[in-house]
């Protein structure tokens, strides 16, 4: 069995565990902690199920189909499409965060305002860090 599949299966078990913990600990832990457990479990479940389904599809492929898939991942046009889509998504997320920033400012929601501000800063910092890294590579 591939390492990736083992990690995905372990992640799935952990995700179910987190969900069950959130369910059974309801009332004994704070709502925020319960929500965090449930949210984390849900996100992990989504990632692991996607990975396992992807693995299953890949294992059923013929060698020719697998070669085609690998070529598609290496293909320079596909790589350019992925890069452009990622950059556009970055801008869209930034606009969305700015929208949330002003919304939390108008609604005077202190904790959410702080959270959105930190997220905007991190969003931009990660971009600058990666700009620097990629610039050094090229």
């Amino acid at each position: 069995m591939k390492k990736k599949t083992i990690f995905a299966a372990l992640g799935l078990v952990l995700a179910v565990g987190l969900g069950l913990a959130a369910f059974f600990l309801d009332g004994r832990i704070s709502d925020a902690a319960g929500g965090a457990l449930f949210g984390l479990g849900g996100a992990l479940l989504g990632i692991c199920v996607t990975a396992l389904i992807g693995d299953r599809i890949e294992s059923r492929m013929t060698p020719e189909e697998r070669r085609e898939l690998e070529r598609g991942e290496r293909d320079e046009r596909n790589a350019a499409i992925r890069d452009r889509a990622a950059l556009k998504s970055w801008y869209w997320t930034l606009y969305l965060l700015w929208g949330l920033f002003f919304l939390t400012l108008i609604l005077e929601r202190g904790p959410f305002f702080a959270l959105v501000t930190v997220t905007i800063v991190l969003h931009c910092v990660f971009y600058l860090i990666n700009l620097g890294r990629v610039a050094r590579e090229m």
Binding site: R71, R74, E76, R77, N78
Partner: protein
């Protein structure tokens, strides 16, 4: 940037899939190159030119050369 990929391919009776296989890209990339929607990298341009046994300038027509 225009190119003569489609013309060269038809001249030599090569399918898009065969060319894609030979230069290690997807068929969709060959279609986009032929339609002029995508410009090849220098590496891919070199591979395509080498496949046809020509130089890059023989296959790809730069804007300045056309004017």
């Amino acid at each position: 940037m225009e190119n003569r990929i489609a013309a060269l391919r038809k001249e030599r009776r090569i399918s898009q899939a065969e060319l894609a296989d030979a230069v290690d890209v997807t068929r969709q990339t060959i279609i986009s190159l032929e339609n002029g929607r995508y410009n090849a990298s220098l590496l891919l341009a070199h591979r395509i030119a080498a496949y046809f046994g020509l130089t890059i300038e023989d296959v790809f027509l730069f804007e300045e050369e056309r004017t």
